[in-house]
């Protein structure tokens, strides 16, 4: 089935064409052609995915495809193919990546219209899609890692896309390095898996796991190491700090990479390796706790942010926390479902936010906005739908997926538990911050920036917004049949009040938002200490800066001239000193010379007695 191979190949070709032409010719390609290549390659990939879904997968929950392109390497027991594995889980991811990816590419043609780095932008974006597709298609962990690092690179490049501002570069490097820390843990996990199970092929690994006892420490360790990778990539505690800064990139990039696709790769990894995690209670609890903590922490931070994109960024962290929570309670398909719906509504939110930002001439401070709903009604409606989904208002897509997660959390621990409670609290907070954002931007008094607002949407931007809005609203109906991948989940029946609380929590949050933002007049600058603490992301940045970054850079700077070299320069200096010392004996005085001769003779005769 070479159709599968073409799916990542098309964006790759797009990338190669876009990157190769400036290397060989001084004239840039016409923007229309660039857009055609950039968008077309991803669009074609999306069509191929749809074709594949329609022909092979539709109505067949157990469908699977395997494709080995070539033997990658085979060294003494470590044998890997460059091969793809396609099942429903992959298909969901493929659809999200190509589908949402296509829409965001399309949006970008409008959004980036006037940028000087148009061609470079689409090259990076195509490369990203290719890497992301490899990540999800990989049939072995090394190929997955290839995609994993590839998306990290593209994320780096796109965050720092506007390279002239050093702050963007710093944010980009931070993103790459922080995720690399997680990746390193993950790659060690791969070594552990290989050492223990002698394979890195996912299928073989999973069948090898069937013989392993539950809670085997090796499995726990491997799972925790993989979790390290997932935590880095998905911006979960404790490696979440890079994502808010990553908003330095163009907004469509934030939508594609830092909301819809790449940051959810951690979720995909855990879901893909779920038999491993399921074997270890400790790993499961760790995933759940990480998710629960992250969703609360990030939610609270989102409450007090003033930058529209940062609110969304923290919200993304928080929502991925939900997915982790879901994974941690064994709700694999719930997590993937939420991943999918989140991709729709968060992409929608980001793109809408992009329209706002563009309309306000790159103003991102929500306290300078306000009352925009009349000026840009289409954007407002899109944003409204996005916020509704985010807050999980009933009958939106977010509602279905989040509801499933909360129920699973209740079920998994057989009743009331902290994880569930965190989820519910998170829902409350989510409702609060999402509508706070909506109210501050689109309702209330007009802010300073609102006066010169224009409607920046053009066709290329309207179309994706509309489609995403539809998807966000109706995505709840698209629950993919993942039971062949994860096995059938036993449907629990929690008490009614539990369901009621789950529905009520976001509504309460919205009410609080109304009270805080519309009933009371919000003003910035009068944040409480707690507010400032949350604003700074719970002080993690400062903590890491003091604990890790500063000592490292100071040490590195202190040792710039290589302390080890002192050893050798010291030897050299000592030799020179010795030279000076012995040279004193060559003073040209004959009588001194005679004296040395005499002393030497006496010395030798004395030595004779000793020897």
């Amino acid at each position: 089935m070479t159709v599968v191979a073409w799916i990542p190949m098309l964006p790759l070709l797009g990338f190669l064409v876009l990157i190769a032409t400036p290397l060989f010719s001084d004239r840039p390609l016409p923007p229309k052609l660039v857009a055609a290549i950039g968008v077309g390659s991803v669009g074609l990939a999306a069509i191929l995915t749809a074709f594949l879904a329609a022909t092979q997968f539709a109505g067949n929950p157990a469908a699977e495809l395997n494709l080995s392109l070539w033997q990658w390497f085979s060294v003494d027991g470590l044998q890997l193919d460059f091969g793809f594995h396609l099942d429903w889980l992959t298909l969901v991811m493929l659809s999200v990546v190509t589908g949402v990816g296509f829409l965001i590419h399309l949006y970008s043609t409008g959004y980036m219209r006037d940028d000087a780095g148009y061609q470079r932008y689409f090259a990076y974006l195509n490369l990203f899609v290719c890497a992301m597709l490899l990540l999800v298609l990989a049939d072995n962990l090394v190929l997955l890692y290839l995609g994993w690092e590839g998306v990290g690179l593209c994320s780096y490049l796109l965050i720092g896309f506007w390279y002239r501002d050093p702050a963007n570069g710093a944010a980009a490097r931070k993103a790459f390095v922080v995720t690399r820390i997680g990746d390193t843990a993950m790659v060690i996990g791969l070594f552990l898996l290989f050492t223990e199970f002698a394979t890195l092929d996912i299928g073989e690994l999973i069948s090898a796991l069937s013989t392993v006892q539950a809670n085997d420490p090796r499995v726990t360790l491997a799972a925790l190491l993989l979790l390290g990778g997932a935590v880095g990539k998905s911006a979960q505690l404790p490696l979440q700090t890079w994502l808010p800064d990553a908003m330095a990139g163009p907004t469509p990039v934030s939508a594609l990479i830092h909301a819809a696709t790449m940051v959810t790769a951690g979720v995909y990894l855990i879901a893909r390796m779920h038999p491993l995690f399921a074997l270890s209670d400790m790993a499961m609890s760790a995933v759940a706790i990480v998710g629960a903590l992250t969703l609360l922490l990030a939610g609270c931070s989102a409450l007090v942010q003033s930058d529209i994109k940062r609110v969304l960024a923290y919200s993304t962290i928080s929502q991925i926390g939900y997915m982790f929570l879901a994974l941690g309670v064994g709700a694999w398909s719930g997590a993937i479902f939420h991943l999918m719906t989140h991709a729709f509504f968060k992409a929608l939110l980001f793109l809408a936010a992009g329209s706002v930002i563009l309309g306000l001439h790159h103003e991102q401070d929500i306290f300078r906005m306000g009352g925009l709903r009349r000026k840009i009604p289409f954007t407002f409606f899109c944003f409204l739908i996005g916020c509704a989904c985010l807050a999980a208002l009933p009958f939106t897509s977010g509602f279905y997926s989040k509801d499933r997660i909360l129920l699973s959390a209740w079920d998994f621990y057989h009743g009331f538990n902290g994880i569930w409670l965190a989820g519910v609290l998170g829902a409350l907070v989510t409702g609060f911050y999402s509508f706070r954002l909506l109210f501050l931007v689109f309702f209330g008094r007009e802010g300073e920036a609102s006066s010169h607002c224009r409607d920046a949407n053009n066709t290329a931007m309207v179309l994706p917004l509309g489609m995403l809005a539809v998807l966000a609203l109706l995505g709840g109906l698209l629950a993919p049949p993942l039971q062949s991948v994860f096995g059938a989940a036993g449907a629990g029946h929690p008490p009614l009040w539990v369901e009621a609380i789950a529905v009520a929590a976001p509504l309460a949050g919205i009410a609080m938002a109304w009270w805080a933002c519309l009933y009371n007049d919000p003003a910035r600058g009068e944040q409480s200490a707690l507010g400032r603490f949350w604003y700074s992301g719970w002080g993690f940045d400062r903590l890491y800066d003091t604990l890790l970054v500063k000592p490292f850079t100071t040490l590195a700077r202190l040792n710039r001239n290589d302390v080890i070299d002192r050893l050798y320069s010291g030897t050299a200096a000592a030799s020179r000193q010795l030279h000076g010392l012995v040279s004193v004996s060559q003073n040209g005085q004959v009588r001194w010379y005679i004296a040395t001769l005499a002393v030497g003779t006496v010395l030798f005769l004395a030595l004779l007695v000793v020897l």
């Binding site: 490097r173 060690i188 290589d562 050798y568």
Partner: protein, 535 residues
């Protein structure tokens, strides 16, 4: 004879290049190019040997060999031989020689003929190192490659060239004297045990050594190779030498000369002293891991772009050391791959720094910045190689580092875990370099002369071909593994035999060690059969 021809072509080409400059200005470059191409063509004759799978154990180990009498007094022969490992490294040598030549085609102005003489002689020496299978001959070439390199640094280098050149030379020379002692002692012990005086690598593999002595001899070899590699406490010559060397010299140093150290460890230290290597492996692995981390930290701290790349070499070659002493096929294959991949990526980085220096006359990253705007082509290519050096999957460096770590993880988890943090370190310095040089606000050190010119097609083509090679190695590395396989297996076989306790290699009865020590009294080497010197 082809092997001899390759080396001879380089030696003679060097002399011809020197002379040709007297006849016509600039002719030396073409002579150098032609002789390199000729050497590559000669090497190409072996291409059909590549990829013979490890499984065909019956295949002769040497693809080709040439043995001539040289100094019969010491049982020294002129013994050249080629196997998969040698072929790979020889190919790397010639390819990087060609790359360096093309990348710096116009850089050399001063005494061009003599420059290319030294350039080709360095290559010839390295080619000899990779093919010599007589320990004396090996040492001979090992030293021969140093002098022209010394001159390359000392004559065509930058500001601090003389101290750097002297440092480079003294480090390598002093350590190689230890190796010479070890070689002689090995031969002597072998002679007093077996009565056979030989420097032949194959025959010395059978030497039986008392364990304590063996350990010392192994250290003698190790130190020489570790200096070249360079491994941690012996690395300080490298940043100076790399930084001060002319671009072509840096390329040779990084891409080829460092590999001779790794090659020596794999070819000589491990198989000749399996017991000791086994005992020493934890130390060596620790040194490797320490080099990885320390190199990365040092690289991060540098202001001079070339020094940064130089320290990154320390870090990368630490992986090689780690992999070699993990003593399993996966890690060693990874180390071999790392030698090649590091050769390509670092050579390219040095070429890029050279190109920048040529255009902007500074390597200080404090004075650079925002070059992407004016030099998009150069910057993009630099980005590629920076990313390669941080080990991005899909490129050769990743395969190498992955295999090294995967293999060494089986040997020692903690050391591997420490080394793996080098991956983060690599990201730190590689991206910092990108940031400070190519991103950020534009800061051209000399505004008056207009924007610098972007890469010429010649430079682009040379660099891109390396990039393509790296991608190829990242995606289809199996050819390399198949080619190096038999040599790696051969080196490992001695270690494995030791582990298994095969009696003919190891565990000589205690009485034997005494006999070896006593044999020191025997006359050595045997006097000439015709007539001795003294009655």
């Amino acid at each position: 004879m082809t092997l001899l021809a390759i080396i001879a072509v380089l030696f003679l080409g060097g002399i011809l290049a020197w002379l040709s400059e007297h006849w016509k200005d600039g002719a030396s470059r073409w002579v150098a190019l032609l002789s390199l191409l000729l050497a590559i063509a000669l090497l190409g004759r072996y291409a059909d040997h590549t990829g013979i799978a490890t499984a065909t154990g019956s295949a002769p180990l040497w693809w080709d060999s040439l043995q001539l009498n040289w100094i019969p007094r010491f049982g020294i022969t002129f013994f050249l031989a080629l196997d998969g490992l040698g072929f790979l490294l020889l190919a790397l040598t010639l390819a990087m020689g060609l790359f360096g030549l093309i990348a710096t085609w116009r850089d050399v102005g001063f005494r061009r003929g003599f420059f290319y003489f030294n350039y080709l002689w360095t290559l010839a020496g390295v080619a000899g190192v990779f093919t010599a299978m007589d320990l004396f001959l090996f040492f001979f070439f090992w030293e021969v490659m140093l002098v022209p390199m010394l001159l390359l640094i000392a004559v065509w280098g930058y500001e601090q060239r003389i101290p750097a050149a002297i440092k480079f030379f003294i480090f390598t020379q002093a350590s190689s004297l230890l190796m010479l002692i070890a070689i002689v002692a090995l031969v002597y012990l072998h002679y007093s045990a077996s009565g056979q005086l030989t420097f032949n690598y194959r025959e010395l593999l059978a030497a039986r050594l008392p364990p304590a002595t063996s350990y010392w001899l192994m250290l003698g070899f190790f130190v020489a190779f570790a200096v070249k590699l360079p491994a941690l406490p012996l690395h300080t010559w490298l940043p100076d030498a790399h930084t001060q060397a002319p671009t072509a010299g840096s390329i040779l140093l990084a891409a080829i000369l460092l590999k001779t150290g790794a090659y020596g460890l794999l070819r000589f230290t491990l198989p000749l002293f399996p017991e000791s290597s086994l005992a020493f492996a934890p130390v060596a692995m620790s040194i490797g891991a320490a080099s990885v981390v320390y190199g990365a930290v040092m690289s991060f701290a540098q202001r001079d772009m070339k020094r940064l790349v130089a320290y990154s070499s320390v870090s990368h070659m630490g992986f090689v050391l780690l992999g070699l002493y993990a003593l399993n096929a996966i890690a060693i294959q990874g180390a071999v791959m790392q030698m090649i991949a590091h050769g390509l990526s670092t050579a390219a980085l040095f070429a890029l720094v050279g190109a920048l220096q040529h255009r902007l006359h500074t390597r200080d990253m404090g004075e650079l910045g925002g070059l992407w705007g004016n030099l998009p082509r150069l910057s993009a290519i630099a980005l590629f190689f920076a990313v390669a050096s941080l080990g991005l999957p899909g490129l050769g460096n990743f395969i190498a580092e992955f295999l090294v770590l995967a293999g060494s993880f089986a040997s020692s988890r903690w050391i591997t875990a420490v080394a793996a943090t080098g991956l983060v370190g690599a990201a730190l310095y590689a991206l910092l370099m990108m940031q400070r040089v190519f991103f950020g606000g534009e800061r051209s050190p000399h505004q008056n002369s207009g924007p610098p010119a972007d890469l010429a097609p010649r430079e682009s083509a040379a660099l891109l071909s390396l990039a393509v090679l790296l991608v190829f190695l990242g995606l289809r590395p199996q050819g390399v593994f198949d080619t190096a396989g038999p040599a790696v297996a051969d080196a490992l076989q001695h270690i494995d035999a030791t582990v298994a306790g095969t009696p003919d290699r190891y565990g000589a009865p205690p009485g034997d060690t005494g006999a070896v020590a006593d044999a020191a009294d025997s006359r050595w080497p045997p006097s000439n059969p015709e007539r001795g010197i003294s009655p």
